[in-house]
């Protein structure tokens, strides 16, 4: 590779500066597409880390009285599995898609604040590495991904038995703080980009749903993260400066942590799923050859979910002994939030119904998402029934619920997005046969792993147990779950193989391999640095469809604009 370049303004030959070398270009870039890819790759790296942790958990629990891990190791592994998958896989990957796709979708040349964008990425990378580095020094966080105080305090209890004296919880607190800063930077950027940089004619009600959901998610992060930041800083003060925010014996209250954490934590749940809804709302129409059914309902149900998500936090705390009237309030708000979620599922069905369905890999994952997310929604409703929740909370039923939502939901949507947008990002197609094999391994694996967990919950198995006795009727179901996890693991291997071989020698994609509807396909694959030669003018919700099919363009149809 040449180490010298010709300066275009002076025509003098000079050495390449650092930012012009291959590595330097990635390290110093402020281009939203490069940063988007960096977010995605980083997120997938942590997906592999979190996946290995999951396999360790399932190995330990495959048989009763497992001896693969010590209890201390198990506690660290399940804590880091949750923390990694939520903060370092799902969020970064969804932000990565947003970074790459949203500016293209709305016809912008970059994000509003490119350098802030780069700052957000580096904050994520170093925050993530900092968290994982805790393994290297032998004190990985071990308090669960929601770090309940006072277990996460340095000292607790009147006998002065120490709770979490080492650096374990400190790693978690500081790591999560860093990731929070990164997320705030990213969210501000998305809000401004989406509100200010849309192409001419792209009014807010013509934006692709993925841009809508990214906007809502960014507002959620902006308003939810302060709560987590506050909670963690108070815990840090308790641990190191002798304050007593969560210490009951000195007048503090352990429940303060739970209220603060979940008033971040529940919006967080929707932060993990709303962009996934966005991806599904892009993929289903393209492969059904129809517009999204009920655009307005889908967009506004997302906004409704956003608002309602701030009113439901205490449904994670039904067993803490709140007064029945408060329980009734949170049961009601939780019931309310189920309505817009149901609306979305029906609208996706309406999109597919009457279409011409092409079963390319993105479509398979999107349909799989609808099928799996429905299960996650239904078992979620069971958990909202307070007296049922008294029985099911903190059991494997909850583990089944979060994984149907986060794996069957978010992760399926992420893989739909990967197969859908990989051609745009690289100019090459991922191998469809391998993709289908991966899809079926995932679908079988997810159900084999997580469906038995419903029954484990009903049969009384609490979550977060490093071992269990063999006489409690849990053995077969646990073994099934472990086999399922292995199948998912094989699916991930297939994906990795597919990824690297396709990157090297995949079929060329062209600029529009799926005959898609939105603006990101109306440019080269991968797009040039400036995205569009001329900024497109938008007249409907499917600008690229209009351009390709002018005779049946959406803006000519009255119905499309309602």
């Amino acid at each position: 590779m040449a180490t010298q370049v010709i300066d275009t303004t002076t025509t003098v030959v000079r050495r390449k500066t650092f930012s012009e070398t291959y590595i330097g270009e990635w390290i110093t870039t402020t281009d939203h597409k490069k940063l988007g890819i960096m977010y995605l790759v980083t997120g997938f790296f942590f997906f592999l880390v979190g996946g290995m942790e999951a396999l360790l958990i399932r190995t330990q629990l495959a048989f009763p009285d497992g001896k693969v891990l010590t209890p201390q190791e198990y506690d660290s592994i399940f804590t880091m599995h949750g923390t990694t998958m939520i903060f370092l896989f799902v969020i970064p990957v969804l932000v990565g898609f947003g970074n790459y796709i949203v500016p293209l979708m709305i016809g912008a040349r970059d994000m509003a604040f490119p350098r802030l964008n780069a700052f957000g990425y580096w904050g994520l990378l170093f925050g993530g590495l900092f968290l994982q580095a805790s393994f290297a020094v032998g004190s990985a966080p071990d308090g669960g991904w929601f770090m309940y105080a006072p277990l996460s305090e340095a000292a607790c209890g009147v006998h002065a038995v120490s709770c979490t004296p080492g650096m374990n919880a400190d790693f978690w607190i500081l790591g999560v703080l860093m990731l929070g800063i990164s997320s705030i930077a990213g969210s501000v950027n998305f809000v401004v980009t989406i509100l200010k940089l849309r192409a001419p004619g792209m009014s807010i009600n013509r934006m692709p749903i993925f841009a809508w959901m990214t906007l809502v998610t960014s507002f959620l992060l902006l308003f939810a993260l302060p709560s987590l930041t506050t909670a963690s800083v108070l815990l840090l003060l308790d641990r190191h400066l002798g304050t007593h925010f969560y210490q009951y014996a000195s007048g503090g209250d352990p429940l303060l942590w739970q209220h603060l954490f979940w008033s971040f934590g529940h919006p967080e749940v929707y932060i993990l799923i709303l962009p996934a809804f966005g991806i599904i709302s892009e993929v289903l129409p393209v492969f059904s050859r129809k517009p999204l059914f009920g655009y307005t309902f889908v967009a506004w149900s997302g906004v409704a979910i956003g608002f309602l998500s701030f009113t439901v936090w205490a449904h994670h705390m039904f067993a803490v002994g709140l007064p029945p009237l408060a329980q009734a309030f949170f049961a009601t708000s939780t019931t309310l939030i189920a309505i817009p979620t149901a609306v979305k599922i029906f609208n996706w069905l309406g999109t597919v119904y009457g279409g011409k369905l092409k079963f390319d890999v993105p479509m398979l994952f999107a349909l799989g998402f609808v099928a799996m997310f429905l299960i996650g929604g239904l078992n979620g409703v069971a958990l909202a029934i307070v007296p049922v929740d008294y029985q099911l909370t903190d059991t494997y039923f909850v583990v089944a619920h979060i994984h149907y939502v986060l794996f069957g939901g978010s992760a399926f949507a992420i893989f739909a997005g990967v197969f859908y947008w990989f051609p745009k990002m690289t100019g090459k197609m991922l191998n469809a046969t391998l993709g289908k094999i991966q899809f079926w391994l995932f679908l079988i694996g997810v159900n084999l792993t997580f469906f038995p967990m419903h029954l484990l919950g009903l049969f009384g198995m609490p979550r977060r147990q490093w071992t269990y006795a063999g006489n409690l009727g849990w053995n077969d179901l646990n073994l099934m779950a472990s086999i399922g996890a292995l199948i998912i693991g094989i699916g991930v291997m297939v994906f990795l193989y597919n990824f690297f071989t396709s990157l090297k020698s995949g079929q060329p994609a062209g600029s529009d391999p799926w005959d898609a509807f939105t603006l990101e396909w109306d440019t080269t694959s991968p797009p040039k640095k400036y995205n569009f030669l001329t900024i497109p003018v938008v007249r409907s919700r499917r600008p690229f469809f209009d351009k390709k099919y002018p005779e049946i363009a959406d803006w000519k149809s009255k119905e499309a604009m309602h």
């Binding site: 655009y295 002994g321 239904l378 029934i385 007296p387 909370t393």
Partner: protein
Amino acid sequence: MRKPVFRKPRRWLLAVTTSVLAAIFLSACGGQGNILDTYGPIAGQERTLFYIILAIATVVFVGVEGALVYSIIRFRERPGMPNPRQIHGNLTIEMIWTAVPAIILFITLGFTIQTLFAVDAAPASGSMVTVEAVGHQWWWEFYYPEYKITTADSLYIPVNTNIKVELYSNNVIHSFWVPQLTGKTDVIPGHNNVKYFSANQTGTYIGECAEYCGTEHANMKFNVVVVQPDQFNTWVTTQQQAAVTPAKGSLAAQGEQIFANGVCSGCHGIVGVNIQPGAAGSPYGYYDPSVYCNDPNTLDTTKCKIGPNLTHFGSRSLIAGGVLTNNAADCQPETETFQQLLRTCNLAKWLNDPQGIKPGNDMVINQLTPDQIKALVAYLESLK
């Protein structure tokens, strides 16, 4: 057109049948922790509500997944298929499918709130026994304020009697759960939650800690032993006695000496050995943990020991938070060799290697000798 032989199967009928079959399957399988195989009114109400939501969810599941599978088959791309009509939405349909789930959800909400107030309410009538359940890392202690007695790992209660459980922790958060009798209530330092339940059949039920509370969260179980009221009264009277003094010169007597003079008595109490009954507030030698173990600044470790009280250890069915069962019948230290004892007797296994059996627990002691273990087993199992 020919009439079909059978009427079109109704989808909801299929769903209801499925959920009834599922219900039978669910309540038949599973072991002692099965929340659908209940023996008390609170768990019973929670189970009924679960079946209602299961039936509704099954109907929705079959309907929606059915529509999805139907669309996948019916509308798959076939050669020569024309492009579909570009339908953007339909306001009426969308209003309907917003309203229908809303109605269903609000009906279930009605059941929820009704049952919620019912299971949380204090019982209006009937006799009541109060128990203070104390969550430790990682075992349960039970103090009966009316009878001024303490036990651990086994909660004795009379059948068909309201039980008021006062939940107390002075360390981290735990959660009190007896799947077949009642759902969970968290045990939160400084909050002293109260839970009411009762059992309508005698027997032994498993209790578990359901909130992650540290390293040995998995081994924080207890037994709920439901007995007839007269048996309960007998049990109370027995528990109020000080520990039996073993016959002079017996193996158990050596055990008592080892207990009293060795490391054991620092963390454990035995009434009549290292605790004397009759002090103020403690006629039988037991102290209310929520009073005597609440303030780290005035903690009196003679009244608030860190380990379980062992005065009637021999009458309990579990060891150390249920990590082992107390199989007293298999412990014959007088006749067995140490190796035989170690194979059969769980208490001997525990005393020989507490950190191997329950890694991370607070019983960190020097290795006991075989003779010490034999003597301690003889003594502790004699404490009925």
